[in-house]
């Protein structure tokens, strides 16, 4: 039972059709997520990392079925949830919750904290009255807020406290999976540290699994067990967190890690400076990263899409420079 990963995503794709002209004759398919596969073991944290436009939030929302995927399969707890609907989906959703980037925007300003945290308890468990109040108080305590905050409104809180409210609301239905979409990028460092510690404690306490979406690599290194790097909707590298940071194989991963400004003036690390930027209108053929790649280009970089292959145990890379032993051509 516990061998089955909590969340498994197989060949997930989400395509958006863009109409080229006003008359709709030329249509263009934008692949926001392109055949992404990963699995998230119980009680672990998988980091989805990428620049803006790489599709990381779309994957998170597809996993919850907040966005309908174009193709692919989503397995939650071994059950295929790609096509379930109605009450079944709603019941499943109580096992998976989402926490958003902007705490202020994700809390209803006209509801008190008690109402915000209590709402999922009513929706999923039909709890109300005194019993709901008690549960909310308990949740406030768990996330480090005080009982007297029950009747306050979101605007009376600082960003860090608002994010705690968001976490309490997500925890209300006792989920197994939390999808954290940039949970600390709107917060200051001193507060970010508090929230990261809270997330770590909650994971230990409730055996939660996290899908952690972030662009901040130092936070990812701190909190995640596994990391998937995304570039234009494709996974370019997937491995354990230490492997990614100490032995990155894909040129993009290497550049990204070298570009983090280390808070150490003597951190004499050679920076790989990428040319250009992430262009959503990439060529249809070849490796999506090829136009920015700083490593010597192979002939087939611009014609063949590199497959995601396992170069060593639990380390997948999608790059022509690292063909798996079975697939190497010459």
């Amino acid at each position: 039972m516990s061998d089955i990963p909590l969340l498994e995503v197989r060949n997930l794709s989400k395509h958006y059709v863009q109409r080229g002209s006003l008359l709709g004759q030329r249509t263009d398919v934008f692949k926001a997520v392109d055949t992404v596969s990963f699995s998230l073991p119980r009680g672990k944290t998988l980091g989805l990392v990428g620049e803006s436009g790489s599709g990381k939030t779309t994957i998170g929302k597809c996993a919850l079925r907040l966005i309908e995927p174009t193709s692919g399969q989503i397995l939650f707890d071994g059950q295929d949830i790609t096509h379930i609907s109605g009450g079944e989906l709603r019941r499943r959703r109580s096992d998976m919750q989402m926490i958003y980037q902007s705490p202020a925007a994700s809390l209803n300003g006209r509801m008190t904290i008690g109402e915000i945290i209590g709402e999922p308890l009513w929706l999923h468990e039909r709890l109300r009255g005194q019993r709901r109040r008690e549960r909310v108080m308990e949740l406030l305590h768990i996330v480090g807020l005080k009982t007297e905050h029950y009747y306050r409104f979101p605007h009376e809180f600082s960003g860090g406290q608002q994010q705690r409210v968001g976490i309490a609301r997500a925890l209300a239905v006792k989920p197994k999976l939390l999808i954290l979409d940039e949970p600390t990028s709107a917060l200051d460092v001193s507060v970010q540290a508090q929230v990261l510690n809270l997330l770590h404690e909650l994971q230990q306490q409730f055996q939660l699994s996290y899908l952690f979406i972030s662009h901040d690599l130092s936070v990812v290194r701190y909190l995640c067990d596994q990391v998937a790097l995304l570039y234009l909707g494709k996974v370019v590298e997937l491995a354990d967190v230490e492997t990614i940071f100490t032995r990155p194989k894909h040129p993009y991963t290497q550049a990204l890690i070298s570009a983090i400004p280390e808070p150490d003036p003597d951190g004499g690390r050679e920076q790989i400076l990428l040319q250009g930027d992430l262009n959503l209108r990439t060529p249809k053929q070849g490796c999506p990263f090829a136009p920015r790649c700083h490593v010597a280009k192979l002939a087939h970089c611009e014609t063949d899409v590199p497959p995601l292959v396992e170069v060593e145990a639990r380390h997948q890379v999608s790059c022509h420079l690292h063909p798996s032993s079975a697939h190497s051509r010459n």
Binding site: S218, Y222, A259, P263, P265, Q271, D277
Partner: protein, 339 residues
């Protein structure tokens, strides 16, 4: 000394009372310095930067005390006309969000040429009888256009001749920030104020922009004031750092000294709160508590409610600056008594 901010006090008169946004900011910059101004949301770092070109909205803002000296001249005492000339000739500013600082309905050419013309404002007034002697409006415009293209290549936008006709939406975030840097450089400023220049950008683009600022400092002899909350950015680009908390500079030091030997408890806390490659999970230390409400700031040292070394004196007396060795100034009661 290029910039000398002395004991600057700024208040905002709001409906909730008087917010004491800046409470005695001291900041010095020499020509050619790259200084980082670091602090969390609401600590007054942007307000300090806006005080340099005297751009603080007044009302509701009131500067109650202090001076801002730029090259020895008091900026706050200048008349509006002098201020306009001063801003055009000596200052360049870039902001966090490159998208909202460009007008979407004008091409880059129009906006960039405008800023070049603005800084040549007094040269281009051609009164009637001098018309034959002075360059014509067309001449001025084509000069400005040439200069604009030059600026584009200076900030590393390839194919400037053609791209200058494009509109802001045709540029990516990083390229827009480059355009804004080009605008800021139009007047060959002495000081470039960069307010969170890379916060809205991805890391790989951030690295490009920081590299660009670095090369401009070397090539043009610019002085730069970088305002950021990212200590990593400071460590990689600045020579000197000033750390702000709740409207006061609490520590200034050369960059190596600050990261090696932080003295103020807030700076120490800030550095410990950053996850680095050596931090084990669950061992990250935040700073307890939250930033104070500036309409009712704590007495004495404004950091004392969150400080782990709090003493009786901290609750009553604002700590004076204590100069340790090598330009390391700390505004904390822990230092100074012994010396």
């Amino acid at each position: 000394m290029l910039l000398d901010i002395q004991n600057l006090h700024l208040e905002f008169r709001t409906f909730d009372g008087v917010a004491k946004v800046l409470a005695g900011v001291d900041l010095q910059m020499q020509r050619g310095d790259v200084v980082g101004l670091v602090g969390e949301t609401g600590c007054g770092k942007s307000m300090t930067a806006l005080a340099i070109p005297n751009l603080i909205p007044m009302p509701p803002g009131v500067i109650t005390e202090g001076r801002v000296l730029f090259d020895g001249e008091d900026v706050l005492a200048k008349s509006p006309a002098e201020l306009q000339r001063f801003r055009a000739r000596h200052l360049g500013m870039i902001f966090q969000d490159p998208t909202t600082n460009l007008n979407p309905v004008f091409s880059i050419r129009e906006q960039l040429v405008d800023s070049v013309l603005y800084q040549r404002m007094d040269q281009q007034t051609v009164p009637g009888r001098w018309r034959g002697w002075m360059p014509s409006a067309r001449q001025i415009r084509s000069d400005a256009h040439r200069r604009a293209v030059e600026l584009m290549s200076l900030v590393g936008i390839p194919d400037g001749e053609r791209r200058i006709e494009d509109y802001p939406h045709q540029f990516s975030g990083g390229m827009r920030q480059r355009v804004l840097i080009a605008m800021a450089l139009a007047g060959e400023p002495d000081l470039l104020i960069a307010d969170e220049p890379t916060t809205a950008l991805d890391v790989t683009i951030q690295a490009q922009i920081l590299r660009l600022i670095d090369s401009l400092v070397k090539r043009l002899g610019l002085s730069v004031l970088i305002i950021t909350h990212n200590l990593g950015v400071v460590a990689q680009t600045c020579q000197k750092v000033a750390v702000m908390y709740a409207g006061k500079v609490i520590e200034t030091a050369p960059v190596r000294e600050l990261f090696k030997n932080p003295r103020h408890p807030y700076t120490q806390g800030l550095l410990k709160a950053l996850p680095t490659s050596h931090t084990r999970r669950g061992e990250l230390e935040g700073i307890p508590g939250t930033i104070p409400n500036l309409t009712r700031p704590p007495e004495g040292c404004r950091f004392h409610p969150r400080c782990s070394h709090v003493m009786e004196v901290c609750r009553q007396v604002v700590p004076p600056g204590h100069r340790g060795d090598s330009d390391h100034i700390t505004y904390c009661h822990l230092y100074g008594e012994e010396r």
